[in-house]
């Protein structure tokens, strides 16, 4: 530990680690030094000069090296002749900082006066107005009047869209460079920059479409003025009119902490509306960043005309509106008689509470459950996953005499599958962590990886096996396909770095893999971790880049991916399908829905599967209810209701007294409108005279999870809501410091302990028999890949993103394309040999792709869940 430095700021003595900048140290004495260009997550650049302070340093006698003393025995302090930058000056022993002296105040005042000479003062209509650093700092430190001529203000382009997501107002920019630096340092998408100089300096976007980055929304949070704002919120409300609901992103396994800003509106008839989604600080999950999918992709959860509002029951072959009582009675009767013939299929968009109750109901009836996913291996993450105290922020270059940390990312296009993990890993790599990217093709992670290694498509597990094998004295028999890779000296070096690392973790994804392949990969990864001893301690272990928010939670609660889904669906007597739409993903599932089968679908919208159901039940979306998700990092986090589902209330015409009366008379008011997913299985159980299921509140169900599921032992909603102070301190009144994100006062969540399965996890013997996968000699092979922006049924509700999502496409290599006479952007007919689906899609070319490989993005209307032979022919 290096000794902290003692200095005096505004007359108060404070200790700070050496290297701390004055601006950060001043936070400790509660003094907010005004800043524009400095941001606590980025290196200082000293561009705006708003942070001026007076700095004095003790005078040292050159001859003796001793501090010169005043007559009264105190050290003599020498002040500089000029004001200095608090954001770019590190603390030094004995330093005296005057932040509120007349000199410092005058300096700030002058800088503000200069900034305002070119500022349009659009405050009344500016989306930043009310939470604007320039506004706030002008009020606090600025001049009341300007000595400059109003007529000489600089006029630049206003209302200048940078693509469809971000609006730029060039006049408002104060040239702090935060946005440009964020894009360089964090996003690594250098798509915006400065052009011209001096007063004519402008922000420009180099990309087509404009501001082409998954991270663009973050620049609107850190821009200290209203120069960058989002199109989604444009003129949506004034910031002070918004209320806040803490939430967790429902789009991927990272589990970013969100703040949903809501208010009631006239146009919705007085209903609550989510006006914008903002990041909420959690230094152990997403720090202060979120990706644009999380920021703009929430619209599916809003109320809208397409949402299901009341139960539908099939009568005379048609789905017709029915009351909850009618629907639930029917379900209870049919599920009761089906008993062990019940099969419950659940999607992992569901919260822990929902999955628990669904599992309870099915299990007590003797039925079977299945998790609807294309990715396997989750069981292993519960045994060798992350443990409490793990944090991407701790990964780095190790200390003195300590090797750096290592992260292996395998079979995963990390920015597409778990965006914020990619962002945090890039920072870890900059701190010195050894990132090993082991993928079948180039991904953005390669730029920051110390080792970028390639394996042939289909050989992910074999590639990890080769890595493990290179560490052992007695090399294993490796499949033929991986021989080239196993001879690569970089693989050996990477394996060595991994084995010797202080901490090591593995992130695996589903790039080019289906359920079986990713499960095999997970096993190979677990074996690597176990043989190198990187399990069971913080910052070591296996992470899955799951396709949905609560997949980890599902595995922790005992759900397992179903490898024989079609068979199980076909054999079941009754089906209970929740938050899953298999028929939409693959029409082949249609065959499982025979006429004698009783099918219940529980969803937000009338999905393709729901159209085949006997009973359809409407549910509340994640923003309308309470619940908890378990992130890929095994952190259980709570989300809170943001808007009230008004349709879930008794009809508006009912006099308010009636509800109160029901409390007195003990009569239960009739259920109306969508219900929470966890409540419905419990309501069914109630009708089956089954006890032990609870639907009084999400908290009660979670308490039950804490009592019955060992890994959740002792957890309650209160525990999940605990917070401790985080550094940097952001989201308070000094929004100029961290940006307009929110402080976390609603809970940081709790990381789960590892599942204790009796004996400690051991490498599986079967691991050395990884199948030798080869591309067929003839014909093309399609591999599924994940894109962040897809045509999935949730994201398509965000119209703003439609252009970025684009049309359905496949990626071909240049050689095959030339042979098939298809050019980039051309059309081709794709026929899957297994499902016989045949569609016309756009073709994109990738020269680096191996021959005979076709990449097919998931959730783009093409039924692909595993590598499949495919036929491609030019069309039109």
């Amino acid at each position: 530990m290096t000794k902290p430095v003692t200095l005096t700021i505004n007359g108060i003595q404070v200790e700070a680690p050496p290297g701390t900048l004055i601006v950060d140290a001043a936070k400790k004495v509660g003094f907010d030094i005004p800043v524009f260009c400095y941001h606590p997550k980025m290196e200082p650049v000293g561009m705006c000069r708003e942070c001026l302070v007076e700095i004095g340093r003790p005078v040292i006698d050159r001859a003796t090296g001793e501090a010169v003393l005043e007559e009264d025995g105190s050290p003599k302090i020498q002040f500089g002749s000029k004001l200095e930058l608090a954001c770019a000056t590190p603390v030094s022993p004995g330093m005296v900082v005057l932040g509120k002296s007349d000199n410092a105040k005058a300096g700030r005042d002058d800088i503000l006066e200069f900034l305002l000479t070119s500022h349009p003062l659009d405050c009344p209509i500016c989306d930043k107005g009310g939470e604007c650093p320039l506004q706030d700092l002008t009020m606090a430190w600025g001049p009341g009047v300007s000595r400059f001529l109003y007529e000489e203000k600089q006029h630049l382009a206003k209302r200048y869209p940078l693509g469809e997501l971000i609006m730029l107002d060039r006049e408002r920019c104060i040239q702090c460079g935060r946005c440009v630096r964020f894009q360089d340092i964090f996003a690594d998408d250098r798509v915006i920059g400065f052009s011209q100089r001096g007063r004519s300096l402008e922000i420009v976007s180099y990309s087509e479409p404009g501001f082409d980055s998954y991270w663009s929304g973050n620049t609107t949070d850190i821009c200290p003025v209203g120069a960058l704002t989002t199109m989604d919120f444009r003129f949506g409300a004034r910031p002070w009119e918004l209320r806040l609901a803490a939430s967790i992103c429902s789009q991927c396994a990272v589990g970013c902490n969100l703040a949903l800003n809501v208010r009631r509106e006239v146009v919705t008839g007085g209903d609550w509306v989510v006006k914008r989604v903002m990041p909420r600080q959690n230094e152990e999950v997403n720090e202060i960043w979120i990706c644009d999918k999380g920021r703009f992709g929430h619209h599916y959860a809003e109320q809208g005309p397409k949402r299901l509002e009341q139960p539908l029951v099939r009568k005379n072959g048609e789905l017709q509106p029915a009351s909850w009582d009618e629907a639930l009675d029917l379900i209870a009767e049919r599920f009761g008689s089906a008993g062990a013939g019940l099969f419950t299929l659940a999607g992992s968009r569901l919260a822990n509470e929902d999955l628990f109750n669904l599992d309870q109901l099915t299990r007590r009836l003797g039925g079977k459950t299945g998790l609807y996913t294309h990715m396997g291996g989750g069981k292993l993450t519960t045994q060798v996953g992350l443990t409490p105290g793990s944090n991407f922020k701790d990964l780095g270059g190790g200390g003195e005499n300590e090797p750096p940390d290592a992260v292996l990312v395998v079979g995963c296009d990390l920015e597409e599958e778990a965006p914020v993990w990619w962002l945090l890993l890039r920072q870890a790599a900059k701190r010195g962590a050894a990132v090993i990217a082991l993928n079948p093709r180039a991904t953005k992670l390669d730029r920051d990886a110390r080792f970028s290694l390639r394996y042939p498509f289909g050989s992910a597990a074999a590639a990890v096996l080769a890595m493990t094998s290179s560490l052992s004295q007695k090399p294993h028999d490796l499949p033929e396909s991986i021989q080239d890779l196993s001879r690569n000296p970089d693989l050996k070096a990477a394996a060595k770095a991994f084995a010797e690392a202080r901490n090591a973790l593995v992130i695996f994804g589903s790039e080019g893999m289906g359920l079986a392949e990713s499960a095999a990969l997970a096993q190979a990864c677990a074996n690597l971790l176990l043989t190198t001893g990187h399990t069971g301690k913080p910052n070591n272990g296996l992470l899955g880049a799951w396709p949905r928010a609560n997949e980890q939670g599902a595995w922790e609660l005992g759900w397992e991916a179903d490898a024989n889904l079609l068979e199980h669906l076909s054999q079941a007597e009754a089906l209970y399908i929740v938050a899953a739409d298999p028929v939409n993903d693959d029409a082949a599932f249609q065959s499982a829905f025979g006429s004698d089968k009783f099918v219940v679908v529980q969803d937000l919208y009338l999905s393709q599967t729901a159209r085949l159901a006997d009973v359809v039940l409407p549910v509340q979306s994640w923003i309308e209810r309470e619940g908890s998700y378990t992130s890929g990092g095994r952190r259980v986090q709570r989300f809170y209701p943001a808007i009230q589902s008004t349709t879930a209330m008794p009809p508006k015409t009912e006099a308010p007294g009636v509800r109160r009366a029901s409390v007195l008379t003990g009569s239960v008011p009739e259920l109306q409108g969508p219900q929470a997913d966890f409540a419905i299985p419990s309501l069914i159980a109630e009708r089956l005279q089954m006890d032990g299921l609870n639907h009084s509140s999400a908290a009660a169900v979670f308490a039950q999870i804490g009592e019955t599921v060992p890994v959740f032992a002792g957890l309650t909603y209160q525990k999940l809501a605990e917070v401790h102070e985080q550094w940097p301190i952001v989201g308070r009144a000094d929004m100029y410091y961290g940006g307009t994100l929110y402080e976390n006062t609603q809970g940081l969540g709790v990381q789960l302990e590892l599942a204790r399965t009796g004996a400690p996890a051991q490498p599986q013997p079967a691991w050395s028999q990884v199948e030798d996968f080869r591309l067929p000699k003839l014909g093309l092979m399609a591999f599924p890949v994940t894109r962040l922006y897809d045509q999935g049924s949730t994201l398509m509700h965000t119209e703003l993103l439609h252009q970025r999502i684009g049309e359905s496409f496949v990626v071909l290599n240049g050689f095959d394309a030339a042979r098939l006479k298809i050019s980039h952007g051309g059309k081709a007919r794709i026929t899957f040999n297994t499902s016989a689906q045949s569609v016309i899609v756009q073709v994109r070319l990738d020269a680096a792709l191996p021959e005979r490989v076709v990449l097919v993005p998931r959730s783009f209307g093409l039924s692909i869940d595993a590598p499949t032979p495919v036929e491609v022919r030019p069309a039109g």
Binding site: P120, D122, P124, I125, R159, E241, V266
Partner: protein
């Protein structure tokens, strides 16, 4: 003595008998209000018919009784309501809450909301106490066009209309 008193009294009676009556025949006849009277709000327009209100909600935030509700939207040259980028899509004042303090008037950056002379605010139903934009906005002046207007592109390029300082 009595006769004197009687005469005096009768004189008063006689004088009042011929004096001009103070009673105003409301509602047929209305008394003028003072210059600084604060009655029902009016949303003002420019002479060309465009609305002065830019939907900034500053009136709503200044209001001590939370009587105003504003929802904003963006102008386009095809559908232009106000000269700037933003206009009030919804503008409502709950007259039952309003205490006629005039803070909204003071807060307004464009002098769009002005407390007028109308004091006839009575309703049978509390819902009717909410005055919406169509009830508050002034009629279009002669020569002006109603909103939304279709205008030439490139004419209205500022975020906020350029304004002169208040005159009085």
């Amino acid at each position: 003595m009595f006769a004197v008193e009687l005469a005096r009294g009768l004189a008063t009676t006689l004088r009042e008998l011929v004096a001009k009556p103070v009673t105003v025949q409301y509602p047929e006849e209305k008394r003028p209000v003072s210059r600084r009277f604060k009655g029902r709000h009016e949303l003002k327009r420019y002479d060309n018919g465009l609305e002065k209100c830019i939907g900034c909600s500053l009136c709503a935030s200044a209001c001590p009784s939370d009587a105003i509700f504003v929802e904003a939207a963006e102008n386009t040259d095809e559908e232009r309501y106000s000269p700037g980028e933003r206009y009030a899509r919804v503008y409502e004042i709950n007259m039952m809450r309003c205490i006629f303090c005039g803070y909204c008037e003071d807060a307004c950056p464009t002098e769009a909301i002005v407390l007028g002379d109308n004091y006839e605010l009575s309703f049978y139903d509390r819902r009717n106490s909410i005055y919406d934009k169509s009830m508050l906005i002034d009629p279009v002046a002669e020569g002006g066009k109603p909103t939304p207007q279709k205008v030439e592109p490139g004419v209205f390029t500022r975020s906020i209309p350029v304004m002169k300082n208040p005159q009085d």
